[in-house]
Symmetry: C2
Subunit: 206 residues, 2 copies
DNA sequence: CGGTGCTTGTGAAATCGTTCACAATCTAGA
DNA sequence: TCTAGATTGTGAACGATTTCACAAGCACCG
């Protein structure tokens, strides 16, 4: 499988949403132009992005919504269930645990951890908050693939290293600390202050 | 002021964090190489980024942490206070309201809104949840600059349009809906499912 | 005061990503 | 079967961003 550019992956994820809407609306084909309009891009961009699948659009017609949906789901690895653990049962961790959209897309939260003894044992949605001391054992037992890191920034590196050692190869990091991890661990950051600062810059720049 | 490339702005934001640490640690100068190591980039990249300030590093020595911090803060518009409103007092909205890393950096949450009558009037940290029906009036009265949009995706467009009309020119959007807004409104997205899908892709690609 | 060791600033080259432009292909309709 | 209209697939041009490479500047030391 050819390597797909990072920005393309992000757009595929967007296209997928619109495709699902189109499919629900009973449309059996969709053109690059329509996808472009939904996703705020251009039809040429859409076609380039989709050219990773080889060519299976129909000239004069467009793409089969059903087939395209299936292809994108496969490329994104959404044709299977991923086990997700959340570390940190504070506000962000709890919010993630209750994020309904995730389960729908195959991201099953199988455990949530916290270091605070007062929180350990409490129920959160259909989970019980586990003690972070058992992190490694639980991660292995539950075959967790992805971790959501929602701990204070000063603990992020330590917890991330433990997760990596326990076999987690993908981390969604809500902390603002830079993480040093083995090559094979993919990290994506949700850095709220950073995004606000980008907005601040945009506002200030005039 | 020259226009600064988007990726550069993001990195400046990162540099700023390390600079603050270095300054606290009593370091009066820092080299591009040190900043690069902290920020996971290269020294050439750092110097290119900083070249937007003209040249005020000292060859053989590096940059004055104090001056560089001040410059970056100014570029990012962090030398002032921004008024932030949060729309949606669900889990994500509440998490943002309680995120005190924000106040530290000059982002003052001045109001939080919700549409649910059961939530309106409740206390949340030092705020009282306001009725989203008063959104426009409150945004104007409080001189809100930035909005955090944490409402269900199907309501995002409607609320965003109201915010824009009330004068908000920067939105941090946690929904997954595509927003159509006037040119002069800057939007940054925090799309959790999208980031998880990028991780899923990375895991699946082998 | 000249040499050595660092480190900046910056053109130029390389890489990466987007947009353009058009031939090729398909459907529908006459 | 032929034509008109729509849309894909893709090489090539373009634009943006990163990396390279090195001259120039500064501090320290003998």
């Amino acid at each position: 499988m050819k390597k797909i550019a990072e920005p393309t992956v992000r757009r595929l994820s967007l296209y997928l949403r619109f495709l699902e809407d189109f499919e629900k609306a009973g449309r059996s084909t969709i053109s690059s132009g329509e996808l472009a309009r939904s996703g705020g891009t251009t039809s040429a961009q859409v076609r380039k992005d989709l050219s990773f699948f080889g060519s299976f659009g129909k000239r004069g017609i467009g793409y089969s919504t059903h087939d395209l949906t299936a292809h994108i789901r496969e490329i994104l690895g959404l044709d299977r269930v991923w086990h997700v653990v959340i570390v940190g049962a504070g506000r962000i961790g709890s919010a993630m645990a209750g994020y309904y959209g995730l389960r729908e897309r195959g991201f099953h939260v199988v455990a949530i951890f916290d270091a605070d003894p007062r929180r350990v044992g409490q129920a959160l949605d259909d989970l019980t908050i586990a003690d972070v001391r058992h992190l490694e054992a639980d991660v292995r037992r539950l075959h967790a693939h992805i971790a959501v890191l929602a701990v204070p920034s000063d603990q992020a590196q330590g917890v991330a290293a433990r997760l990596a050692k326990a076999g987690v190869r993908a981390i969604l990091d809500f902390s603002t600390a830079p993480l040093t991890l083995p090559e094979h661990v993919t990290v994506r950051r949700m850095n709220v202050p950073l995004e606000l600062e980008a907005l601040s810059h945009a506002l200030a720049a005039r």
